[in-house]
């Protein structure tokens, strides 16, 4: 009886020793500990442990669909991202309990037909009172540069100001206007008034120049201008000075009717003059 009791006690003791070895290790704290005001922690890390590959793949699938959703929602598709962190310390800083962290980020992706590559640095300074994050360097490479020469304008401005968000805002609106311009031209191209005009003597050429510009604040503005190429003879015949005022008149039309309607009106006038059809 005593021996059995002793055996039970021995077993209990052994169990007490083995038990902790089977418990899960505490989850590591990691970088996620710093929750910053500017970037609220909207992501929760998954539980540590030996996951089955099925769980892993389903989790990955869920994350990938979230990524696809975000890229559709914003119109910006990030393909690659990497970051390096460097903690800068000095005894003076440690004394005043100031912590400085330099982050180097590399980001690349596309926004419709435009692809971008960014490299930027963020300096995080934490002192007793608050945490500040400042972009200390910004480098932007865009493609294609030849098709969209207007891009270089706002790229250099964004780099100068280290204004990362302005860059993406302007990029979005720029692309939106480009798409609109393409659609509008396509719409009018389907109806080609020149076919009719060429039957008569080509008296003059009208060129519509549509530029998409960005201003100081990074706002994207379309700028349309009507250029006329008129032979001198025609100018001499133009007693009312219609050609001279054409450009100004067109701009006025733009401000009143908007781009599409203004273009339509212009083309209808041309066609009616030459007995052709007006665009739909």
């Amino acid at each position: 009886m005593d021996s059995e009791l002793a055996e039970v006690r021995a077993l209990e003791a052994e169990i007490a020793v083995l038990r902790p070895a089977c418990e899960e290790p505490p989850a590591p704290g990691g970088d996620a500990a710093s929750v910053r005001k500017s970037f609220p922690e909207i992501y929760q890390s998954d539980s540590e442990g030996w996951e089955s590959s099925k769980d892993l793949r389903s989790n990955l699938g869920h994350l990938e669909s979230e990524l696809l959703f975000l890229s559709t929602l914003t119109g910006i598709s990030i393909r690659n991202y990497s970051k390096k962190t460097e903690t800068l310390t000095s005894p003076e800083m440690a004394e005043k309990s100031i912590k400085k962290v330099l982050q180097r980020h590399r980001l690349s992706g596309t926004c419709h037909m435009i692809s971008f590559q960014l490299e930027f640095q963020i300096l995080e300074v934490q002192n007793k009172e608050n945490l500040s994050s400042v972009i200390t360097d910004l480098n932007i490479i865009m493609e294609p540069t030849t098709t969209y020469s207007e891009l270089s304008e706002f790229v250099s401005r964004a780099e100068e100001r280290r204004d990362l968000f302005m860059f993406f805002r302007s990029l979005h609106f720029f692309v939106e206007w480009c798409e609109y311009r393409k659609r509008t031209f396509k719409h009018f191209k389907e109806f080609d008034p020149l076919e009719d005009l060429e039957r008569h003597v080509t008296w003059f050429e009208l060129v519509i120049v549509w530029r998409i510009q960005t201003d100081e604040e990074g706002k994207v503005v379309p700028k349309l201008d009507l250029l006329t190429k008129v032979p001198r003879q025609a100018l001499e015949l133009d007693k009312k000075g219609v050609v001279e005022t054409a450009a100004v008149g067109f701009r006025a039309l733009l401000s009143v009717l908007g781009i599409e309607a203004a273009l339509e009106s212009l083309l209808s006038v041309l066609c009616m003059e030459h007995g052709g059809q007006s665009p739909q």
Binding site: P40, F168, R169
Partner: protein
């Protein structure tokens, strides 16, 4: 027992079951002999189970560190590849915050975060919780009341959600930028101000009195900055007037005019930084 995500837990759960059994048996059995027999057999079971679990863990750790068997290596490297891919996707999701717009899927739809900054300094973030239904609607948000959210939603939310989001970005970033400039002025250049800085919640109407010293003379100016366009960080209208009974000498009239121009073209705190620099230069020339 099936392998779950956290194997240790399943073993512990099993342990607890065994232990309750032991306790139950202890209470049930009258005969001390019988009880101890049951105890010892269950105890043995528990101990053996634990021993095997510890052994397995040690084996797993060894495999993880030095993949010896080729089959296991393939499994592990495949696993590692999937893990790496997952970490990559997670990182990209986090990186969206650098575009100024980030989001997280919710059960109702999506919660979009709008981040603001001014000339490199990262500022506050706001969120809009969207319910994905027909029609699309805002469940709740943290956009301040003076930002015309209803107006922007009415125009774009149903027809062009990207435009809606980026338009909000414009308004919020512009507001954050104006606020930042006003805050910086109050914080770093209070010495110049002759009275409190007056501002509205939108920070698009600013009024302040400041004194400028040059070549031994000092004058007080009153500035009024209006930002009629809510998507800009530079004022659309600036008036600088002289405060005082005496008339302004010509050179100072030029100063006043140049200040008006400065406030229109430079960030508010940068204008005052240039005043500081000029005063320093002035002092160095005098001495």
């Amino acid at each position: 027992t099936a392998r779950t995500l956290v194997p240790g837990l399943s073993v512990l759960a099993h342990l607890e079951k065994l232990e309750t059994q032991v306790n139950r048996s202890r209470k049930k059995l009258e005969e001390p002999q019988g009880a101890q027999a049951v105890e010892s057999s269950l105890g043995t079971k528990i101990r053996d189970k634990l021993r095997s679990e510890v052994k397995q863990r040690q084996a797993r750790v060894a495999v993880r560190d030095t993949s010896v068997e080729p089959d296991q290596t393939l499994e592990i490297s495949e696993q590692k590849a999937w893990e790496r891919k997952r970490e990559n996707v997670k990182a990209i999701l986090q990186a969206y915050r650098f575009t100024g717009l980030s989001g997280k899927l919710t059960s109702r739809g999506v919660c979009v975060c709008i981040h603001t900054a001014f000339e490199g300094t990262l500022l506050d973030s706001y969120f809009v919780d969207l319910v994905i239904q027909k029609p699309l609607r805002i469940h709740h948000h943290s956009i301040p009341a003076f930002i015309p959210l209803e107006e922007i939603s009415a125009k774009y939310l149903q027809t062009n959600i990207q435009h809606f989001l980026f338009s909000l970005c414009e308004y919020l970033n512009a507001y954050a930028g104006r606020k930042y400039q006003a805050d910086q002025l109050q914080r770093d250049f209070a010495a110049f101000l002759a009275g409190p800085l007056q501002r509205n919640s939108l920070c698009n109407v600013l009024s302040f009195t400041y004194k400028v010293e040059l070549r031994g003379q000092a004058f007080t100016f009153c500035a009024r900055l209006l930002y009629k366009d809510l998507t800009v960080t530079l004022p659309t209208d600036v008036t600088v007037t002289h405060q005082g009974m005496d008339t302004l000498p010509t050179s100072w009239e030029e100063q006043r005019a140049s200040h008006e121009n400065l406030f229109c073209t430079k960030a508010l705190h940068k204008v005052f930084a240039s005043f500081t620099q000029r005063e320093k230069l002035d002092m160095s020339l005098v001495h």
